[in-house]
Symmetry: C2
Subunit: 103 residues, 2 copies
DNA sequence: ACATATACCTTGTAATGCAAGATATACAGT
DNA sequence: ACTGTATATCTTGCATTACAAGGTATATGT
């Protein structure tokens, strides 16, 4: 049902502007997602690249190996729009269920 | 991240009143969940029973085999409360991400 | 006797999420 | 030069979840 919810969130963050994985992981925490390790995020980014939702460019880091910056493709933007619609449907449905049972 | 979201929704529906699996499946559709087959719901109900979140009583049906009615246990009610909190956190976080990118 | 609707369960598979660990680069302190 | 620390990416292996598909069983109407 909610498969791809993380995908959607990541697409949305990338849409704000080019970003690399490590930074993205930190940003997710800032938005209130506590539970995402890099072991979750990196495989997901690789998958999205494979599906042509994002493109990457390597850039030097000030301290560490090269950063892999991600940007949305047109297909990625479309996917994001679809995700937004899906999220509205789902969150509405869950809120429906929740608010019936009690105050 | 959203593992157990269906669990929470089902707990919430059961809290409204005793209900059996087949009816629950139909009710979920009514709330706007399109994609849940019985192959998803029944195993989940059995698991929740095993975890002592729900209890069951069998009752005659007007047309078909006996219905298995589910009710919440105290533990199930606690689980539901926790889920509600978790859902608020998560939906807030996702909405944060979504609305930044510009609607 | 047969079809249909109801009702529950099992099997097998794919996707997802995560911990843990492997690899690699750069800089700062000693 | 050596060591530790922070940065940065990727891989492996496992557990959970979601789902389609199929299987079993009961009651009613014709």
């Amino acid at each position: 049902m909610l498969k791809g919810i993380l995908d959607g969130c990541i697409l949305s963050i990338i849409q704000e502007g080019e970003i690399y994985g490590y930074e993205l992981a930190e940003k997710l925490q800032g938005y209130g997602f506590h539970s995402f390790s890099e072991g979750t995020i990196y495989p997901l980014l690789l998958r999205m690249q494979k599906e042509n939702l994002v493109t990457t460019t390597l850039k030097k880091s000030t301290a560490g190996p090269k950063r892999k910056y991600y940007s949305l493709t047109t297909k990625g933007e479309e996917e994001l729009e679809q995700f937004k619609l899906r999220w509205e449907e789902i969150s509405l449905a869950v809120n429906n269920v929740m608010n019936k049972g009690g105050h």
